[in-house]
């Protein structure tokens, strides 16, 4: 059995759990709990350990989809989760107060993993708050010294969006992959 892994990360409420659920072939396993800290203002339930979904490629190959807990105090889990991962899907909630701060934080937290693998960035909830725009994210990324990265507006509930975001991740690893 050949096993692969894709990691989903981002702040609380960005849509990681939802994204995994739309891509997964199994009912995702989540470790959501009732929030007891400041997270409760944003979500009634929050992921405290991780989300897990599975894409079956064929009888002998599977892709595991892991979602990191959004709260920073659980970031001791991240190193464990990223071991052997193909790449990172970062979801940023555009409706949060300072989405760029989230961007800086997660890019920095996963820097070594991203350098080893690849990243694609999905911006969620742009229908709720249209600013900053996608162009602004590109400017920030460039200013931070990162190369050109795939950044796209996504709705985590939409399979097509999440599929395209993951495709951009995989093609970034190797654009020559063809049918």
């Amino acid at each position: 059995m050949s096993e692969h892994k894709i990691i989903f990360t981002g702040p609380v409420g960005a849509g990681k759990t939802t994204a995994i659920s739309v891509l997964s072939d199994i009912v995702p396993i989540t470790t959501d709990e009732m929030a007891s800290d400041m997270t409760k203002d944003l979500k009634q339930q929050t992921t405290v350990a991780m989300d897990y979904g599975l894409m079956r490629i064929n009888e002998s190959e599977r892709v595991h989809l892991y979602g990191t807990p959004g709260q920073e105090r659980f970031n001791f889990m991240w190193e464990v989760l990223t071991q052997g991962g193909l790449g990172l899907v970062l979801l940023i909630d555009n409706s949060r107060k300072e989405p760029f701060q989230d961007l800086y934080f997660f890019l920095d937290a996963f820097k070594s993993f991203i350098h080893r693998t690849a990243i694609s960035i999905g911006i969620t909830r742009m229908d709720e708050k249209s600013h900053p725009e996608i162009d602004d994210y590109h400017r920030e990324i460039t200013a931070m010294g990162w190369p050109v990265l795939p950044i796209m507006e996504v709705d985590a509930r939409e399979k097509e969006d999440m599929s395209m975001l993951v495709q951009s991740l995989l093609y970034t690893i190797d654009p020559t992959v063809a049918e």
């Binding site: 692969h4 490629i57 409706s95 796209m152 951009s168 654009p175 020559t176 049918e179």
Partner: protein, 400 residues
């Protein structure tokens, strides 16, 4: 103006105690997120007042004398009725409070429209452009559909193989795989004159509108129009895809398409139209693809290496999987058009169409020297071990 550029509606919370105030704020945030924000009394469009506090009656009197026209929701444990005021009995039922706020929002919105329409500028814009109000979209392009939800931003996958083929032909040109295994840029048919067609008219109109920060109307001879809303980065398009597409292939002059500046504000235009707004970038992108049909803008130089400044927002634009591959390649290492075709082993038309659309959007970066890419592409080629399973995962994703 209220709601302009998604400006939230301000709500004043008066008379609530230290415990109730944050709960009410959380309630507003939960249901209306960024659409409603708590603001000081004098900035509010709507006021929610707790009458049972010590200051309750005084605050009510003040509201009635100073903000007589402003909607007011009063909360009280007592059953009462006050003229012109909506009274909600405690304990509050969240559904009823939500409905009441929604009704108030709707009334405020209607008032705004009425006030804006009564302004004298309204006459002027109607005279200048009788087709300002965009007509309802006349059906969807058969080969490429948009969901109506999410402000028409959503892209859907192509419905069938036949329609996919039609879509590819209309954007990337006819398949000529055999002929173009070795692409020849020197051939005249490979180029199109983007300077004389609708693509450049649209692009210029968007640039002017953005620099003036004022809406503009692109009005065709038959009266159909596209309204550009530069601040919202959206447009109101009264022309269906099936009618717009052929116009992208015609040579047009200024008599056939007029660009008229609008004195209406964006919010007025948005409120008065019955068309879902579309992204301006997505419109320019698809117009560029239809204009290109797998050809290059005239004057494109053959040997220049090409990269992209940033990825196009492909989830909200017409795209085929090959566009993601080209974007991934060009974002990593600059490479010429011919080498792109060769390296990715895809149709020349896909590369040319993608180049044309990116070029129109200002995303292309030219690199004069024919450097380095070979090293990086060699590195990519060594990823053969990974290629097998990546291909299978991609196939799985594309079949979703």
């Amino acid at each position: 103006m209220l709601f302009a550029n998604h400006e939230p509606m301000g709500i004043a919370l008066l008379g609530l105690n230290g415990k109730d105030q944050p709960m009410m704020e959380m309630f507003l945030k939960r249901y209306w997120s960024t659409q409603c924000i708590v603001v000081p009394d004098h900035l509010a469009k709507l006021c929610i007042l707790d009458l049972d506090g010590i200051e309750g009656n005084r605050l009510l009197e003040k509201q009635q004398s100073e903000y007589n026209d402003r909607p007011l929701i009063v909360l009280s444990v007592h059953d009462m009725s006050i003229d012109g005021v909506r009274v909600l009995r405690k304990p509050l039922r969240t559904e009823l409070l939500k409905q009441t706020i929604d009704v108030c929002r709707s009334e405020i919105l209607q008032d705004c429209i009425r006030i804006e329409k009564s302004k004298p500028e309204a006459e002027r814009i109607i005279r200048v452009s009788p087709t300002t109000k965009p007509a309802k979209q006349q059906g969807l392009a058969s080969e490429w559909q948009y969901q109506s939800s999410g402000e028409n931003k959503r892209r859907l996958s192509v419905p069938s193989a036949a329609s996919q083929a039609r879509f590819i032909e209309s954007t990337c040109g006819k398949s000529n795989r055999k002929e173009n295994d070795q692409p020849v840029i020197g051939k005249k048919s490979v180029f199109y004159n983007h300077e004389s067609n609708f693509q450049v008219i649209l692009k210029n109109a968007i640039e002017i509108s953005r620099s003036n920060r004022k809406p503009a109307h692109l009005v065709f001879q038959d009266g159909k129009s596209i309204t550009i809303l530069p601040n919202a980065n959206q447009c109101l398009n009264a022309i269906s895809d099936s009618k717009l597409k052929p116009r992208c292939l015609l040579k047009l002059n200024t008599d056939q398409v007029k660009v008229v500046s609008s004195d209406y504000s964006e919010s007025q235009l948005l409120l008065s139209c019955d068309t879902n707004p579309q992204s301006l970038d997505a419109l320019l992108w698809k117009v560029s693809l239809w204009s290109s049909r797998g050809r290059l803008p005239i004057g494109t130089v053959e040997d220049v290496n090409i990269g992209i400044r940033q990825w196009p927002n492909l989830t909200r634009m017409m795209a085929i999987p090959e566009f993601i591959r080209i974007a991934a390649l060009w974002s990593k290492n600059p490479i010429s058009l011919a080498k792109t075709v060769e390296f990715l082993r895809i149709e020349t038309g896909y590369v040319y169409a993608f180049f044309s659309a990116c070029h129109a959007m200002g995303l292309i970066q030219f690199h004069s020297s024919y450097q380095q890419h070979s090293n990086q592409t060699d590195q990519l080629s060594t990823g053969v071990v990974k290629t097998g399973f990546l291909r299978r995962i991609l196939r799985r994703l594309q079949s979703m």
